[in-house]
């Protein structure tokens, strides 16, 4: 029987090695798999390369991983936020490497890795600092920059419902990077608020097919400030 359901976040992350590249879903705080990053913190892996849109908010979740000195490098589009103090401090002290990537290039480089694409030409960033040193080409009268895929050892993503085959649905804008990160990692760990029987997810509405997901962990829905949901 195929059963990707893991008993706990700790069990799902037991084999993350030092030096691993770990993608973390989420945009702002929507879709951030905080229970999974907490479990990664407890697991102890270090020298990590993290791929996320941002670089941690406040003192919890991804920010806690940074604060504990576990992250060697971060690949992201928007590190600077009002509450990114842990990243700011590490960056200014030269204790963390930053690879700054335009947000669409970040999403497409992740998607390319998952889709088996060796690189792609994009108009985004042409003529800017962020394309410095990269190969360019004129195609149909327009200038493009060659960008490479971003692969990962693990992807930690937050979904809404899942089944034992790893099929996933998401909730509103918490979807963001989840579906492409799931494709790009060797091992994708998805947290879900509800595990359902096979067949219970409408096959027309499965967003991430289970082939892209290796482990599913059920996490209680955190109480939120919104409408009692």
């Amino acid at each position: 029987m195929i059963d990707k359901i893991c008993p706990s976040a700790a069990a799902a992350l037991a084999d993350v090695a030092d030096g691993a590249t770990v993608m973390v879903g989420g945009f702002g705080t929507a879709g951030l798999p905080n229970e999974l990053t907490d479990a990664l913190l407890a697991q102890g892996a270090r020298d990590l390369t993290i791929v996320n849109n941002n670089a941690g908010n406040g003192d919890t979740g991804l920010a806690a991983l940074l604060a504990a000195g576990r992250v060697r490098k971060i690949i992201c589009s928007f590190p600077r936020q009002a509450d990114s103090h842990h990243f700011d401090r590490l960056y200014r002290a030269g204790k963390i490497e930053l690879e700054l990537v335009p947000q669409g290039n970040l999403a497409e480089r992740i998607r390319a890795a998952g889709a088996g694409i060796g690189g792609f030409f994009t108009p985004t960033g042409y003529g800017t600092e962020l394309a410095k040193g990269k190969e360019t080409r004129e195609i149909g009268g327009r200038m493009y920059v060659l960008e490479s895929p971003i692969h990962a050892d693990f992807a930690l993503i937050k979904a809404e419902r899942g089944d034992r085959w790893g099929n996933l649905t998401y909730r509103m804008t918490a979807r963001n990077f989840g579906p492409v990160m799931a494709m790009a990692a060797r091992i994708t760990v998805a947290s879900v608020h509800e595990v359902v029987e096979l067949g219970a997810l409408d096959p027309e509405n499965v967003v991430t097919p289970g082939i892209f997901v290796q482990r599913v962990v059920r996490i209680d829905r955190a109480p939120t400030r919104c409408a009692g949901f």
Partner: protein, 215 residues
């Protein structure tokens, strides 16, 4: 010198809204451009895109009805209109890069007469660079519009022959809306479309670092 009356931020937003036609798919950048949504007339159907995976974005929810799984690019709670939908990040940026968005409205530090845009980084020694979706939006939409103050706080023109701040994209801005004027940009240079009340062309020329012509 004639007395002139600068446009307020709300008047600038109102002026941009006039240029957004029925049926357009529009992305409004963070900050000043966000105000444009308040000035789109109710009878005009416009679809708002948010880079974190929404088309058909509605206004802010009533107090107490916020849902932090439904936020905009500025991380503020929003709502979804009937017909609206969600999609993942790679699709959202394919919508931009693929030329499916009609209009994006962005803020700027500087624009050049030829339409180059600088809006992501000041290169100040202690500044932490952050680019977000600015570069993708600037090159992706069919029309990229900029809203900004005409001059810096120090009184320097933000319309420049050549951007001194790091570029976001080359030759992407087709029109800039400032507190003094509406100006078309492009290979032909800067063409003044409209000026605020009481401002004459010579005054505008004196406040602008590039040659201007009248439409």
């Amino acid at each position: 010198m004639a007395d002139y009356k600068r446009w307020t931020r709300e008047q600038m937003a109102q002026r941009v809204a006039r240029d957004i036609p029925e049926g357009a798919v529009v992305n409004l950048g963070i900050g000043l451009p966000t105000l444009v949504a308040n000035h789109l007339p109710a009878e005009r159907e416009v679809m708002l895109h948010s880079e974190n995976g929404i088309i058909g974005m509605g206004p802010a929810p009533a107090e107490g009805a916020e849902d932090y799984d439904l936020i905009n690019a500025g991380k503020q709670p929003v709502t979804l209109l009937p017909g609206g939908c969600f999609f993942h990040h790679a699709d959202s940026f394919a919508m931009m890069r693929g030329g499916h968005l009609d209009i994006c409205v962005l803020g700027a530090f500087q624009v050049s007469a030829g339409g180059d845009l600088a809006n992501w980084h000041t290169s100040a020694p202690d500044a932490i660079p952050a680019v977000g979706g600015a570069m993708d939006l600037a090159i992706g939409a069919k029309r990229t519009l900029v809203m900004m103050e005409h001059c810096t706080k120090a009184g320097e023109s933000k319309i420049v022959p050549r951007c001194s701040y790091p570029l976001t994209a080359l030759g992407c801005v087709s029109r800039v809306y400032t507190d003094l004027a509406v100006i078309d940009l492009g290979p032909q240079g800067a063409t003044v479309v409209e000026m605020c009340e009481g401002l004459d062309f010579a005054q505008l020329e004196a406040l602008t670092a590039v040659p201007l012509r009248l439409a």
